[in-house]
Amino acid sequence: MEFLPELILVISFFILLVAVSISTSTTVKSMLNLYQWQALMVTAIVLFTAAESQPINLPLAVVAVLPIFLALAIKPLLRRATLAVPEEPGKAESKTRPQLLEADGEGGLGMLPREPELTWLQQGRSRLPPVVLLGIGSMLTLFSFIVAYLLIGKGPQPGIDPNSVGISIALLLIGILIMSNKRDIIAQIIGLLVMEHGLFLAAIKVITRPHLAIFFAGALFFYILITLTILVWLLPTLHRVSGSIELNAQAQLKG
């Protein structure tokens, strides 16, 4: 088990690399796939960190459920949102999938593909070219590590790894970069999820006292509620009403 800290550090750096890759991706499909890999790595870190302590920290291991749950749920939830058929003006309520299935034969099901595809997967347009994004991502990472090393180098905190602090802050900043650069809502959600991974790492690796780490990780269960509110309620309703996930279509409120 002596190799675990090094392994965790290597995985953490891979998480950072994946975040930079997500920011330079040009399709939502590749962003989603990379996000799922990143979630898997975060889950591994949580499990390894739980295994690091003697005896094994079971409550912490339970926290591993969160990233993997979201990673597995995101595609079905997006598919569900895709199935929210755009509403006709003046119609009281748009139909849900069961209602459409029920209305089969009256043209209801014809509105939906039987094997639903994520029609949004080809989106993910950027405002900036990938090379520029790579540059900005690297700068943000460098900045985060400088802050972390300055902070921990000066302070009397034994056991806090400046790399973990640096990676956490970098994930937060890269998440914001993804959100501000992409033109569609799903890419923005992925940006938010990348930030969430930064928060996971911080809660697990930056807090040195186990009791507090579990407490902070518990708070993340509540944060997931926000993500679920977006994925389960807001996104399908927004798509149903506006018929688009482009941010330009959601820019009617100005001034």
Partner: protein, 526 residues
């Protein structure tokens, strides 16, 4: 006063809106049982739900008033309830009062809003049950914020307010409301990540133990690692600042306030922003105690406050939809409060806290009064604001309140906001003179300039709507619509002359004790 009674009152206060949220589900279900065809039950169900929400808000306010008697004397209340640790000092009680006052006023307008929505947006969702349930849950989560002791729990409560308020902002479920809800949740949930990271850095700054209770942390704050504390405060300011509507994270404000149902706009502007401010205040105290002076926090807050104030000015001067103009006023007033905190010292802190209350009441008054206008003008060409003219003739009492409330909002004497702005300005000038600081003098001049320009802005917006010949099909205002407005207006007026002490409720003392909490934490510092 027996402290046991206070604890019971506090526990009851916590559960009242939660029970109301559950109870408001019942009438619709019972209605279905009573009449399987649903005929005639919707009205009954709505009346019951409305009664429950108003009753719960009234009980909450009474309990909050009961709690406000002791903390004015400096006593603190700490208790454990359903596994959570609660801590109420003067500052908590002050914010609890503020939450309940505005929640009651807003709850009185739910019925009129739901009727209005059914009339103007017949194709949109008019789910009254959902509205009542979420409204009460929103009230519940906002109430928890100033009551919990643990800073991680505080974060969870603020985060829960985001979920409940997002659903309320998007209640109409049309394109604009959902766009506003989307922007709101994305900006505030991004902010909230920073806030949790800030809390986490604070936990790391503390070498003494594992508790995250504020009442414990203030006692050991002097042992904190200063670098981590500074970083923590910056993250907290960005995180909770996004929720409090500080510039440049304010962009959700005009959309959220503008598209939300008007009772919700009153709550968002009046209370939600203050809940985030409350969280910042708790960290402000810890940071100052840890660093040993207020220099670090003061500079940041002063710049942040002035930036919000300056940024709000052109948007208020610009022609815009009225609710959006009111939202930009929230940005302005949060800027003024932050400026007051940045000035520091007991006079400015007193002014800033008083301004939080004054802004909450005045803004609730304005949103609810404009809600009355929307209801009365519902039949006028689909509620387009260009056709909202002649309010003073069509609905004279609402028009009168809107006109004078507008003057109050821009800081005109003899109203409440003038008094608190004057206190902050006085403290700023005093400090600029004492310290012979050119920077502080320039900041104060900028403050005065912004406030003066804003005065002209709102007067222009209001003038356009208040005077003129009203359309013929405006509905007259009812007693139920204007009475709560008059009560709020009376508070606005009284607080313009003095901060009153009424019977058992010594508000100036409560404010002074709150200032002491902000400056010194739990131990007496003077």
């Amino acid at each position: 006063m027996d402290l046991f009674d206070q604890t019971t009152a506090a526990k009851l206060l916590v559960v009242t809106p939660l029970f109301a949220a559950i109870l408001t589900l019942l009438p619709e279900w019972l209605g279905r049982l009573r009449s399987p065809f649903g005929a005639g039950t919707a009205r009954y169900s709505q009346t019951m739900q409305n009664g429950m929400t108003v009753a719960a808000s009234s009980i909450s306010l009474i309990l909050a008033l009961f709690l406000a008697i002791e903390p004015a004397t400096g006593k603190k209340l700490a208790f454990e309830f359903v596994g959570m640790e609660f801590f109420l000092d003067a500052l908590s009680v002050y914010f609890v009062l503020l939450v309940n006052l505005v929640a009651l006023a807003a709850s009185l307008y739910i019925r009129s809003f739901l009727n209005y929505q059914a009339e103007v947006f017949p194709y949109q969702s008019t789910d009254a049950t959902r509205f009542h349930v979420i409204f009460n849950l929103f009230h519940f989560t906002m109430l928890l914020v100033p009551m919990v002791d643990n800073l991680v729990l505080l974060w969870i409560c603020v985060e829960l307010t985001t979920i409940t308020s997002t659903i309320l902002v998007g209640h109409r479920r049309d394109r604009l409301a959902l766009e506003a809800a989307w922007k709101y949740i994305v900006i505030t949930s991004t902010g909230i990540i920073f806030a949790l990271l800030g809390t986490l850095f604070l936990a790391n700054a503390n070498p003494t133990g594992e508790s995250m209770n504020w009442s414990y942390l203030v006692k050991v704050a002097s042992q904190f690692d200063k670098n981590f504390v500074k970083l923590s405060f910056l993250f907290i300011l960005v995180g909770y600042g996004a929720k409090a509507g500080f510039a440049p994270m304010h962009t959700w404000l005009p959309d959220g306030h503008g598209e939300a149902p008007f009772p919700v706009s009153a709550l968002l502007s009046g209370v939600l922003l203050k809940s985030a401010l409350y969280a910042i205040l708790r960290f402000y105290t810890l940071t100052n105690l840890a660093l040993g002076d207020t220099l670090f926090t003061s500079r940041i807050l002063l710049v942040s406050g002035l930036f919000s104030l300056a940024l709000a000015t052109p948007f208020i001067l610009k022609r815009n939809r009225f609710k959006r103009v009111l939202a930009y006023h929230s940005l302005e007033h949060m800027g003024i409060i932050t400026f007051g905190l940045g000035i520091g010292g007991n006079i400015a802190l007193f002014g800033a806290l008083l301004h939080a209350l004054n802004h909450a009441i005045t803004k609730a008054l304005m949103f609810l009064a404009f809600g009355n206008v929307q209801v009365s003008y519902a039949r006028v060409r689909g509620d387009e604001e260009e056709h909202v003219v002649g309010i003073l003739r069509a609905t004279p009492i609402t028009g009168f309140v809107l006109a004078l409330g507008g003057l109050a909002l821009v800081g005109s004497p003899p109203f409440n906001i003038f008094l608190s702005e004057f206190i902050i300005l006085w403290a700023a000038v005093q400090q600029a003179v004492e310290q012979s600081s050119f920077g502080l003098a320039a900041a104060t001049a900028l403050f005065v300039l912004s406030v003066t320009l804003i005065f002209a802005g709102l007067v222009r917006h209001l003038g356009r709507m208040l005077i003129g010949i009203p359309p013929s099909n405006v509905k007259p205002e009812t007693v139920g619509q204007v009475l709560p407005l008059l009560v709020l207006f009376a508070i606005v007026l009284v607080f313009g002359f003095t901060v009153p002490s009424i019977g058992l409720w010594d508000i100036p003392r409560l404010l002074q004790q709150s200032v002491l909490v902000i400056e010194c934490g739990v131990s007496p510092c003077r």
